[in-house]
């Protein structure tokens, strides 16, 4: 695991600190290119647009910390958005009840992933690839590929489009989830066990940790938060279609990996993920303000993910280089 480093110099070289510099540089660059970029309106705009992906990235962090992955969150967002519309329009539920039912669906879907991963010990990659197809397919089947849910009441659209106490109305939800997950990962024994499981699952099992229960918890949490993201998404756009949240899993994984969480598990932080979300969101919005096509920004996200993955190897390589040098130093001394 991470060795405890203290002091100002060491904290300067931390992954999160470097990423913070990158985010600031990105900000300054786009601010000098596009005149409207740095305005308060646009800042809130970036925040508004990154809430859903941010939520998915936040709950993806514990999963990747434990060495797992969830490819189904984007599809689940789509399915939940559709079902939310269905509950409200076709089953005449009031909005709060429809939202509660949607959260229940999210928990169930997360539970499906969790039970397949833990009971049968199937690789999460292929399980969530299957549910990735299943959830999106169900959304398409329910809407027959064309049905769109619109005309939501203004009181509901307030959540996604208006301001509350001067900030975007969905921001408080995001902040609450972010603080909650940060506390869970960094200030509780749960968080410690996440890292221990990601670092060495068998070791964690021998140490008496309920590995299965922790894994299940993370996947169910991801399902519930994906449902929350679906409701915010529907409110922001004012409509729900079967293609809602398509490709969001990639952005979430990119943000997590960019934020310094090792894709092999065991190392990572929630504040790193938040910085990763910011880096991707600022890049997308900045390119949009600079009138670059959207596809270009999406392509850069893919390239960014590859670069982030490759750069995550650098500390490992440095460590092995250091180890080699140390052994060569110690040999002559010991003889």
């Amino acid at each position: 695991m991470k060795t405890a480093k203290h002091g100002f110099k060491a904290s300067l070289l931390r992954h999160e600190t470097i990423l913070l510099f990158v985010v600031v540089l990105e900000w300054l660059y786009f601010n000098s290119v596009g005149p409207r970029f740095g305005s308060v309106d646009n800042t809130f705009n970036i925040l508004r647009h990154s809430v859903e992906i941010g939520l998915l990235a936040l709950v993806m962090t514990p999963i990747i910390l434990m060495g797992g992955i969830d490819l189904s969150v984007g599809s689940l967002l789509g399915l939940c958005a559709i079902l939310f519309g269905k509950f409200w329009r076709d089953m005449d539920m009031p909005i709060p009840l429809a939202a509660a039912c949607t959260l229940g669906v999210g928990a169930l879907a997360g539970g499906l992933n969790a039970s397949l991963v833990t009971w049968l010990r199937l690789p999460p990659l292929i399980v969530t690839l299957g549910t990735f197809s299943l959830f999106r397919g169900l959304a398409e089947a329910i809407t027959r590929g064309v049905d769109t849910f619109t005309n939501f009441p203004a009181s509901f659209l307030f959540l996604g489009q208006e301001r509350w106490l001067g900030i975007p109305a969905q921001a408080p939800i995001f902040i609450v989830v972010a603080v909650g997950i940060w506390l869970l990962v960094h200030r509780t024994t749960f968080g410690r066990s996440f890292r221990a499981i990601g670092f060495a699952p068998e070791g964690a099992r021998y140490a008496g940790m309920p590995v299965e229960r922790r894994l299940a918890m993370a996947y169910v949490l991801a399902g519930i938060v994906a449902a929350v993201a679906a409701i915010i998404y529907t409110s922001r756009l004012g409509q729900a279609k079967a293609d809602a949240g398509m490709g969001y899993e990639l952005f979430a994984i990119t943000a997590v990996v960019l934020g310094g969480t090792s894709i092999f598990g065991g190392i990572g932080s929630v504040h790193g993920t938040l910085l990763g979300v910011a880096a991707v969101a600022i890049l997308k919005n900045g390119l949009f303000q600079a009138r670059q096509p959207e596809e270009f920004a999406d392509m850069l996200t893919g390239v960014l993910l590859i670069l982030a993955l490759a750069s995550s190897l650098i500390p490992k390589m440095l460590a092995s280089l250091k180890a080699r040098r140390q052994t060569s130093f110690t040999k002559p001394i010991s003889t």
């Binding site: 049968l120 990659l125 292929i126 549910t131 397919g137 089947a141 893919g302 590859i306 993955l309």
Partner: protein
């Protein structure tokens, strides 16, 4: 018999589906629609063979759909520029192999997890294509469709090509040293290394080979229509992974058989016509595909659990 239980059960399921179709929807067996069905699936079969090898090697590649689109469009552009057909085939295979090599370099060279690497390359290729081409179709010159042959002759050529490739690869994985290397690396990379195999090189070659097959498959698809659709190949990765997993390729590597993959592919290919004949709406196809993938991995999980219990 017991060794091939998984493959035989897939073949059995296929026979049951075909029998059910024979009873409830005999129209399914008219020769012309059946021939078009097989022609449509021929490129998928070629990609599925390559994907099976990658999964047997304990890796995965979800960028094949994007690779397929890139190969199709570039091959179409080259053909439209007047490049002769055989050279276009070669170019498409080379482009595919190049993209496969990039995946192989990142996975085997830098030892990054293949799922995330290919997720990234999938998006990169797809968005790059959208950015550069803005979704334009490519019109192909005369004589490209059906390789300049009549339609039935062209269809049979494609089907026979795919089948020959399948049989050759099935024999190669069983009898050639290179084929056995893939199983060895997928079963236990460290043990394979101690036995003198280079696991990283094997992994790299498998990715490059899959890329080349994707290039070939893209051409086999391009010659089927007068235009190249830049969206062709979307969802291909799920289709071929589903075929491999349903056909008995273990996602944990080291186990699988290309003939089983063939049976798995046919089983999945029958679903969408079966749905239409049985009057279920086609929108359910994706959901059913996902459910079948889950069912197949659950069956494997239960089986391996039972085996590990009986062995103590």
């Amino acid at each position: 018999m017991k060794k091939y239980f998984r493959e035989l059960s897939v073949a059995g399921a296929l026979i049951v589906v075909l029998l059910a179709l024979a009873v409830f929807a005999p129209a399914f067996f008219q020769p012309q629609p059946l021939l078009s069905l097989l022609t449509r699936e021929a490129p998928t079969l070629v990609v599925a063979c390559g994907m099976a090898l990658v999964i047997i090697c304990r890796q995965i590649d979800i960028s094949v759909g994007s690779q397929f689109a890139v190969c199709s469009v570039t091959a179409g552009l080259l053909a439209a520029k007047g490049l002769p057909l055989p050279l276009t085939f070669l170019a498409s295979v080379a482009i595919g192999a190049g993209m496969g090599m990039l995946n192989g370099l990142l996975v085997a060279g830098l030892r990054l997890p293949s799922i995330v690497v290919t997720l990234a390359t999938m998006v990169t290729w797809r968005e790059a294509l959208r950015w550069l081409r803005q979704g334009q179709f490519v019109n192909l010159p005369d004589g490209t469709q059906w390789l300049g042959l009549s339609q039935p002759a062209g269809q049979w050529t494609l089907i026979v090509t795919a089948i020959i490739l399948l049989v050759a690869l099935a024999l190669a994985t069983k009898h050639l040293t290179a084929g056995r290397f893939i199983y060895a690396v997928g079963t236990d990379a460290e043990a394979a290394r101690l036995a003198g195999i280079r696991p990283q090189l094997t992994t790299f070659c498998v990715f490059a080979f899959l890329g080349a097959l994707v290039g070939l498959a893209a051409m086999m698809n391009v010659v089927q229509s007068p235009q190249v659709d830049p969206k062709s190949g979307s969802g291909l990765e799920l289709k071929v992974i589903a075929a491999a997993v349903v056909g008995g390729v273990a996602i944990a590597g080291g186990r699988g058989n290309l003939l089983g993959v063939f049976a798995g592919l046919l089983l999945l290919a029958c679903i969408s016509p079966a749905l239409t004949h049985l009057r279920v709406e086609a929108y359910w196809e994706k959901a059913i595909q996902g459910a079948i993938i889950l069912l197949a991995v659950v069956a494997d999980g239960v089986r391996s659990r039972k085996q590990s219990h009986s062995h103590g």
